[in-house]
């Protein structure tokens, strides 16, 4: 097993107050392997990566690199011994040029010949087939290209181990394909790659081996051919997965008062975010969705509905009455809730506790002079922590110390607590493990069966197909079609997005 191993981690332990984040985890990476690290939220993937890259000190265990025991105390140390990381969020400087980003923080000479640097950078970018120029400002590149630049930087540092922490979550399919091509090139050059992702398809497309973690413990290491998907999922969850293909038909349809009536409708709504005016409606108890490629304007549409962007025109009706929404608070008062796409920037208030994050929206609606008592706030928080299974040491824990999926659940809890009539979920399952994903999908259908109207946006089409009964299709910031009933198939969606004739 240790034949050809470049990186070995043995018995790694990491404790946080009240949580065993890692408990005796072993991990082995071989030369030229793409090794997937899988697990649910809070399974310890990110913690393991952070221990490996020196962000967290480990409490026990040993890390061996090419047979030598190494001690990694800081990200700088990790970089020096040849471990490079590309995070989900780009950690480069957007206002510097591509070349500057590639060489920043690792100059050995006092003087820099930037012209030489630029030529070198261009050569490297070309050899890796990355569509960027060395002198271009980084922020003018797409997210995917920025990610590739981050990888190019890592490659140029002669890294032996490359860690990709959910690099694909904000990329569209073509961009993912490009990234995979780059990964395979590096693999051929003998770089060991650790690939953290939630997308099963991608794991089976590029990886050689899979290590599964659960609750901070090692479940096992598998060669990809020996582990069918269903087994992988059940290993991650620690239980057999119930049939996830058809949750929609199980859910009952809402037939109570007001069923079939439009809860919300808008005509020619547009905002300053650059979308073309669009018409839209949602019925009581309906689940519908906006679909389209990344950047097609699907998020901007719901932001316009919620008043998150500056609304520049259009009519909006709620339960038949004309209303005006220009600020989020007005939408909230109308019983509209919006879970934003970007959890970190628009969602969480990082330093505040889980409790404060959960009650925030309801508290704002209740008013400045009517704060909840501590007991009330605790009751709300505890109720939703239990209901959504949020993994946190306590309600007092700052939300920033929770794993991504659990943060998302807190934000979901925040909006469910306001008991909205119309719930907008923009990418609620991004960066979330399979088990929680299904929980959230089921929850959406359950809420709808109780009379809540839900708009669901997701990059994963099959997730949309599983939950939505009607899809609004967008292309180039314009609504180009609407699909419902039998038209809801992968092919039809693709065709409508692509703008073909439907065949």
């Amino acid at each position: 097993m240790s034949e050809g191993a470049i990186l070995q981690m043995r018995g790694i332990c990491k404790f946080f107050p009240g949580v065993r984040a890692l408990d005796g985890v072993d991990f082995t990476l071989c030369k030229g392997d793409i090794h997937a690290l899988m697990g649910e939220n809070g399974a310890g993937k990110s913690t393991l990566i952070k221990v490996l890259t020196g962000v967290y000190p480990k409490d026990a265990g040993e890390i061996t690199l090419e047979g030598k025991v190494v001690s990694i105390r800081s990200p700088q140390d990790a970089q020096n011994v040849g471990i490079s990381t590309v995070y989900q969020e780009i950690t480069l400087c957007p206002n510097l040029s591509v070349a500057e980003n590639m060489y920043i923080g690792r100059e050995k000479d006092k003087l820099v010949n930037w012209r030489k640097r630029n030529t070198e950078a261009d050569k490297l970018l070309r050899s890796l087939d990355i569509p960027a120029k060395a002198s271009q400002q980084l922020s003018s590149c797409s997210i995917a290209v920025q990610q590739m630049v981050a990888i190019a930087r890592a490659v140029d540092m002669d890294c032996k181990v490359l860690i990709l922490d959910e690099p694909t979550s904000s990329l569209d399919e073509q961009e993912v394909a490009k990234l995979f091509r780059l990964m395979r090139d590096l693999k051929a050059k003998g770089v060991g790659i650790i690939f953290v992702t939630h997308f099963l398809d991608q794991v089976y497309e590029v990886c050689d081996k899979i290590t599964v973690l659960r609750d901070g413990k090692l479940v096992g290491e598998y060669v990809i051919e020996d582990l069918p998907r269903v087994q992988l999922v059940s290993k991650m969850l620690g239980k057999d997965l119930d049939d996830m293909s058809d949750i929609k038909s199980e859910a009952s349809v809402y037939e109570g008062e007001g069923a079939g009536q439009n809860v919300f409708e808008c005509e020619q709504l547009c905002s300053n975010a650059g979308i073309k005016p669009f018409d839209f409606y949602i019925k009581k108890g309906e689940v519908n969705g906006f679909t389209g490629l990344l950047g097609s304007g699907r998020s901007e549409c719901v932001r316009a509905i919620f008043g998150a962007d500056h609304v520049t025109g259009g009519k909006v009706r709620k339960n038949g009455k004309e209303i005006k929404i220009s600020k989020p608070i007005q939408a909230m008062k109308q019983g509209i809730a919006y879970l934003p796409e970007d959890r970190k920037i628009d969602g969480i208030v990082a330093d505040l506790s889980v409790r404060e994050n959960i009650i925030l929206a309801l508290q704002v609606m209740k008013g400045f002079f009517k704060p909840f008592t501590k007991a009330q706030a605790n009751k709300f928080a505890d109720e939703y922590i239990k209901l959504l299974g949020i993994k946190t040491a306590s309600a007092d824990t700052p939300i920033k110390s929770l794993s991504g999926g659990n943060q998302q659940k807190c934000i979901l809890a925040r909006w469910l607590l306001t008991n909205p009539e119309y719930l907008i979920l923009d990418e609620p399952t991004r960066g979330i493990d399979v088990g929680t994903k299904i929980d959230i999908q089921k929850l959406v259908l359950k809420l709808a069966s109780e009379g809540m109207s839900v708009t669901f946006i997701s990059s994963e089409t099959d997730e949309m197909l599983r939950t939505c009964s009607r899809l609004v299709v967008m292309r180039d910031r314009k609504v180009v079609g609407e699909l419902s009933g039998d038209e809801l198939t992968q092919n039809m969606i693709m065709n409508t997005i692509a703008g073909g004739d439907g065949n």
Partner: protein, 359 residues
């Protein structure tokens, strides 16, 4: 060990520890530091004397300012450096309204309460101006308030036509009560004013969402907006509250001397107010705050100043000595250092456990 760690990790520990250290130092150096005696002032009224009283008395303005500065820091992630100039303006307004155009009045034009309320309004207006620059024009708070910092004392002088009005005891005796003593009460009046201010802000924090709102706006304005808050308005409100604090301090300052010196009054007090916030362990980059810790921080600074005076440090050398102590305090309260200390305790404990297991 665990309890000790818990205490150390509390935010309020830093100003408390600093206060204790200073107290301990004085106790060893000269126990008479803590002596409080009942004496009589020149009017024959009973007054309490002693260094502790001095600290409480002269720490009042700083404590009041620390309240507003904490809120501004939390909401905007920056500081208002114009509070000293603001105090000059507020004090000048009070004297102007009371004296009219006569700088040596024989009787006051209006009652003090009117003059004070006008000063509060003026002060709030100036602060709102700062707030608008910060909230809507997204100017760095220090840069935005630099304008008033530079211009404020000239504005204050201009309000009184460059004259220095004096309200003598013959004209109105009660004017001096606010910065000194009310006859018959041996405790300085500013102590009461500070106590009432603290009480009010604590009630406001308890019975409104001011804390939650300022903290969320300070941490993540974008997300706050999507939760229905108006980040701009909350930033302005924090400045306006500071404006009220400035006016109150202005009243105390002019009442202490019954006159004003535009270039000297409340000089460098903004730095002490910011220091109070920092000493309280609050992040100057905004976000979470602890109001008690800030207020305590203000008294720590005054304690330090008084201690240095007591040691006969020359007044022009005072800032240098103060700086040394402040550096130590601020470094000790820096999160990095505290983490290290926490880590040290943890190691200590685990080695203790290991020792126990081996035995």
């Amino acid at each position: 060990m665990n309890i000790l760690k818990k205490i150390v990790s509390k935010q309020i520990f830093i100003p408390c520890a600093a206060l204790l250290l200073l107290a301990l130092f004085n106790l060893i150096n000269d126990p008479s530091f803590f002596k409080i005696t009942l004496g009589h002032n020149s009017d024959g009224d009973p007054v309490l004397n002693g260094y502790l009283i001095t600290i409480l008395d002269y720490g009042s303005e700083l404590a009041i300012l620390a309240i507003g500065m904490t809120l501004v820091t939390a909401a905007t992630g920056g500081q208002d450096i114009s509070v000293g100039a603001g105090i000059a303006i507020a004090g000048s307004v009070i004297l102007r309204v009371l004296c009219g155009s006569n700088s040596r009045p024989t009787e006051l034009q209006t009652s003090l309460i009117v003059a004070f309320l006008v000063a509060v309004l003026v002060s709030m207006a100036f602060s709102a101006f700062n707030g608008v620059l910060v909230a809507y024009f997204k100017i760095q708070p220090m840069v935005a308030t630099l304008i008033l910092f530079t211009a404020g004392r000239s504005i204050a002088a201009w309000i009184n036509n460059n004259e220095l009005p004096i309200i003598s005891a013959d004209c109105d005796k009660s004017f001096s009560y606010w910065g000194n003593y009310i006859p018959g009460i041996p405790i300085p009046t500013p102590v009461f004013i500070a106590a009432i201010s603290v009480l009010i802000i604590m009630l406001v924090l308890k019975f409104t969402n001011l804390k939650l709102y300022t903290q969320s706006v300070g941490i993540n304005p974008k997300s706050s907006r999507l939760n229905g808050l108006n980040p701009e308005m909350i930033k302005i409100i924090s400045f306006v509250i500071l404006g009220v604090c400035v006016a109150i301090s202005g009243l105390i300052k002019v009442s202490r001397l019954q006159t004003i010196n535009y270039s000297v009054v409340a000089k460098d007090i903004e730095m002490d107010a910011i220091l109070a916030v920092a000493l309280g362990g609050n992040a100057l980059s905004g976000g979470k705050f602890n109001m008690w810790a800030s207020i305590l921080g203000a008294y720590v600074i005054q304690f330090l100043t008084t201690t240095l005076y007591k040691l006969d440090v020359r007044s022009d050398a005072l800032p240098a000595y103060k700086a040394i102590v402040v550096i130590i305090l601020v470094v000790a309260s820096a999160p990095i250092v505290r983490e290290k200390i926490g880590g040290f305790f943890k190691k200590f404990r685990s080695s203790e456990n290991k020792g126990g297991a081996a035995a």
